[in-house]
């Protein structure tokens, strides 16, 4: 693809040579190398804990390396802190966005470099320039709207534009698509192309292999803090990259097995929440994985929030095993045997400052009570059992949850709900931002759970995932159910990703 552009100038604009970094007890990076050509999109691949983030933190000035050198624009440099990195032209778009939500789009774009007139803020000029930038990078928002009003994709675009207009030479993107829908990804890719045409190099970290083939020119793979190799994307394939990443070949990351689908356990009838979703009806059977596809903002998570009692619904009925129930709050939902792995593990999944064990046992404390006293031995036994069952990699059960990697945090949230032994498990984006190995583990686990008679609702914005794993697929758009497809239709290729997407968008303009 774009590789042709780079052929003329084989010289590197950035070289990180034999870089090592040790943390107490861990060799995070062991003499790794990364070479970036001007104007290329360079994918950085590896499972969680492979050392990608550590290397990027070194490049953006947050860590200093123990060994190795960094050559940037023909000069050996030492990057002391983040602001120095930005001055040098190296910006990082973080996985967790942190815009100033109550300031305007223009104010966010120009934070720290506001145009001035006689020492005062020149608002007019700022808004004019901001409008210009937004137009250039095709972001359709108003310069004076509050960032709070934007959706995640738009916020991310804003961050990218901010980085790009800082005269960056290198923009690091860490999992930029993890919270975007397919349509939004397309917009992001357009922005990346546009950055590239301005001569900016992009270091692109992603767990979605498919994307690498769409956007990247070259890819470097790390594994366990070691450099494994660099490939020209056009000359390699998915399986080779995956086997480089995991050190073994992965036959199929979607191990869906057919299970016996039994009786109805949950029926939702005409569930409505004013202005959010309307007339949502579906049923769920034991032994079944029910997929929910759609764009972000389609109302899928909102429906689940209502079923779980986090939000109130305006009208409609929920029946559990044929009995109408009223679920007023999550406590009631847990009492009815529903578990909910929410989309946002930092926001409402985990208490990051508390230990792994305390997080696991939080929903089920009343079950390990002996009178009013907590039975800490039972807690430790059951907690350790589920840590093992889900293969949560933690130094100890008492380690703070916040110090685990993203994939392990996700497994921890699932472990917490598994320990509650639910009859119905709702999984909202359970594999977002986690690596291939951990994903496969979660898929296998889902299959095991339904085989044991649990019913699972799987919400995912990753089409291959939701289409490969479900027994039935519901597509939502604009707060309504648009269509329902059977597994057979998907297997027969009658229903393709494109079809699902077009149903989800439904001919109407997506948000």
């Amino acid at each position: 693809m774009e590789a042709a552009i780079n052929e003329g100038k084989a010289k590197y604009c950035l070289e990180m040579l034999e870089v090592s970094k040790n943390f107490p007890g861990v060799k995070a990076l062991n003499k790794v190398t990364l070479q970036i050509k001007p104007g290329e999109v360079h994918a950085l691949l590896g499972e969680n804990g492979a050392g990608k983030s550590t290397l990027m933190k070194i490049l953006s000035g947050q860590y200093s390396p123990d060994e190795g050198k960094i050559i940037y624009l023909d000069e050996e440099i030492k990057i002391k802190n983040s602001s120095e990195a930005i001055k040098l032209g190296i910006s990082m778009i973080h996985q967790e966005l942190s815009p100033l939500k109550d300031m305007t789009v223009a104010e966010n774009l120009f934070i720290g470099r506001e145009p001035r007139k006689k020492g005062l803020l020149n608002k007019k000029k700022m808004n004019e320039k901001a409008t210009e930038y937004l137009k250039e990078y095709e972001l359709d928002v108003k310069v004076n709207s509050k960032v709070r009003e934007l959706n995640i994709a738009q916020m991310q675009m804003l961050e990218i534009i901010r980085a790009a207009t800082y005269n960056s030479e290198i923009v690091i993107m860490d999992e930029p698509t993890s919270s975007l829908t397919d349509e939004e990804v397309r917009i992001l890719f357009r922005t990346i192309r546009s950055l590239q045409s301005h001569g900016v190099s992009i270091i692109y970290i992603s767990h979605r292999i498919e994307e690498i083939f769409e956007i990247a020119d070259r890819a470097t793979v790390f594994r366990d803090g070691q450099y494994i190799g660099t490939k020209i994307v056009d000359e390699t394939d998915r399986d080779e990259l995956i086997s480089m990443m995991v050190g073994r070949s992965v036959e199929d990351i979607f191990p869906k097995v057919n299970t016996v689908i039994k009786e109805k356990i949950l029926e939702v009838k005409n569930l409505t929440r004013s202005n959010v979703f309307k007339d949502v009806s579906f049923d769920l059977r034991r032994g079944e994985i029910l997929g929910f596809a759609g764009l972000i903002g389609a109302g899928r998570s909102e429906v689940m929030n209502s079923i779980f009692g986090i939000d109130k619904s305006t009208s409609g009925e929920i029946l559990l095993e044929g009995e109408p129930v009223s679920i007023k709050n999550p406590r009631a939902a847990i009492g009815h045997g529903i578990g909910y792995v929410t989309e946002d593990r930092k926001g409402n999944g985990l208490v990051l400052i508390h230990s792994v064990l305390e997080n696991i046992s939080l929903p089920t404390l009343s079950r390990i009570n002996k009178g009013v006293v907590l039975n800490k031995r039972t807690e430790m036994e059951r907690g350790t059992e589920y840590i093992k069952k889900l293969n949560v990699k933690t130094p100890a059960p008492r380690t703070p949850a916040g110090s685990l990697s993203g994939g392990n945090q996700q497994k921890l949230v699932i472990a917490k709900w598994m320990m509650a032994k639910p009859r119905i498990l709702i999984l909202d984006e359970p594999t977002r931002g986690i690596d291939v190995g951990a994903k496969a583990e979660i898929y296998t686990l889902m299959c095991k759970l339904v085989a044991e008679g649990m019913a699972i609702i799987l919400i995912s914005s990753e089409m291959p995932e939701v289409m490969s794993m479900c027994d039935r697929l519901i597509v939502m758009g604009n707060g309504r159910i648009k269509a329902e497809f059977s597994r057979q239709e998907i297997l027969d290729k009658e229903i393709t990703q494109e079809k699902v997407l077009s149903v989800a968008i439904g001919g109407e303009k997506g948000e």
């Binding site: 986090i310 709050n329 406590r331 929410t342 985990l350 208490v351 508390h354 404390l365 800490k376």
Partner: protein, 324 residues
């Protein structure tokens, strides 16, 4: 509490975590050597008595701070409880029964004050700082109205025993015994009950707590009620020590209580608090004030010093957390 046990063995972790405490212990040892009056048993008992009252309030405050809240109204609650107790005692100063009534009435008043805070915070969704800033003024105003601005001078011999008595046989003041019991209950609730976990989870991540089925509203109301109750206990100890019920008592106590909790390593954003830390925080303030008095340091300078201690404590704590 396994955590603390482990950290006692982990010397480096202990030093970073309780660096300030070590400095204070050294400081106390020095005081014992240079100032003979400091190490007299009379003085030690005096410190214990002083610490008991503030300690009660601080333990209640610790629960509130664990949920990420704050209670500025405890000083006013102290005043209200001395007045309620005072008014009951004045009815029949010589009756033992009336002492019990007085104590119950004062505790009841504290519970009401705390519950009012909790209900406003949980149901009206007003930030705790604002609610308790309002009730701080309100409760004190109610106190003045209640007694018509006239303090009660108490003559009850029974009531006096609570604040001034000692356990027969031993010379340990009754308030100190009360504090020790309160600390044991605090430790138990914090570490060995579902309620304690739910309090910490509410402060650690409220949304995660709600999703995990914690009744956050109930937790908040209980926590502020406990805080009001503990403030009333503090008020009873104070009132019985000085034989008075006075609407101007207790002013500024909220800051002492918050200081003690913060020095003890609790996070103001909630979710983190240990029993040992809180007790050490309570002791620190008492010891520092007493020793500076002994050394003849002016009370003006003492204020400066106390302020500095708070900032240093929080700075040390922030550093040890970063290192983790």
């Amino acid at each position: 509490m396994n955590d603390t046990k482990k950290e006692l063995f982990n010397l480096k972790g202990f030093i970073t975590r309780y660096g300030l405490m070590i400095i204070i212990i050294v400081f106390v040892l020095i005081m014992c050597v240079v100032q003979p009056a400091f190490r007299t048993s009379a003085n030690m008992l005096n410190i214990l008595k002083q610490v008991s009252m503030n300690g009660m309030i601080a333990l209640g405050m610790a629960f509130v701070i664990m949920t990420g809240g704050i209670d500025l109204s405890v000083g006013s609650t102290v005043a209200v409880s001395t007045l309620v107790a005072g008014s009951v005692l004045t009815m029949n100063p010589d009756s033992q029964m009336f002492t019990i009534y007085a104590v119950l009435a004062a505790l009841g008043a504290g519970i009401l004050c705390g519950a009012l805070n909790g209900i406003c915070i949980a149901y009206l969704k007003i930030p705790p700082f604002i609610v308790t800033m309002g009730t701080m003024t309100m409760f004190r105003g109610l106190g003045y109205l209640y007694c018509n601005g006239q303090p009660y001078v108490l003559k009850s011999a029974f009531y006096k025993v609570i604040g001034q008595g000692t356990v027969t046989g031993l010379s340990i003041p009754i308030p100190a015994i009360m504090l020790i019991i309160a600390v044991i209950i605090f430790y138990f609730v914090l570490n060995w009950t579902k309620f304690g976990r739910h309090v910490l989870a509410t402060g650690g991540n409220e949304n995660a707590a709600i999703t995990a089925g914690v009744n956050v509203k109930k937790i908040k109301i209980i926590v502020y009620t406990i805080c009001g109750f503990m403030a009333a206990l503090g008020g009873i100890i104070l009132g019985s020590r000085i034989n008075a019920g006075n609407p101007s008592l207790g002013s500024g106590y909220e800051l002492d209580a918050i200081s003690a909790v913060v020095i003890g390593g609790a996070s103001m954003s909630g979710g983190l608090c240990t029993t040992l830390g809180t007790v050490l925080g309570i002791m620190t303030l008492g010891l520092i004030n007493n020793s500076l008095n002994m050394l003849g340091v002016s009370s003006y300078f003492q204020m400066v010093f106390q302020g500095m201690i708070i900032i240093i404590a929080v700075a040390l704590d922030a550093r040890s957390r970063q290192e983790k």
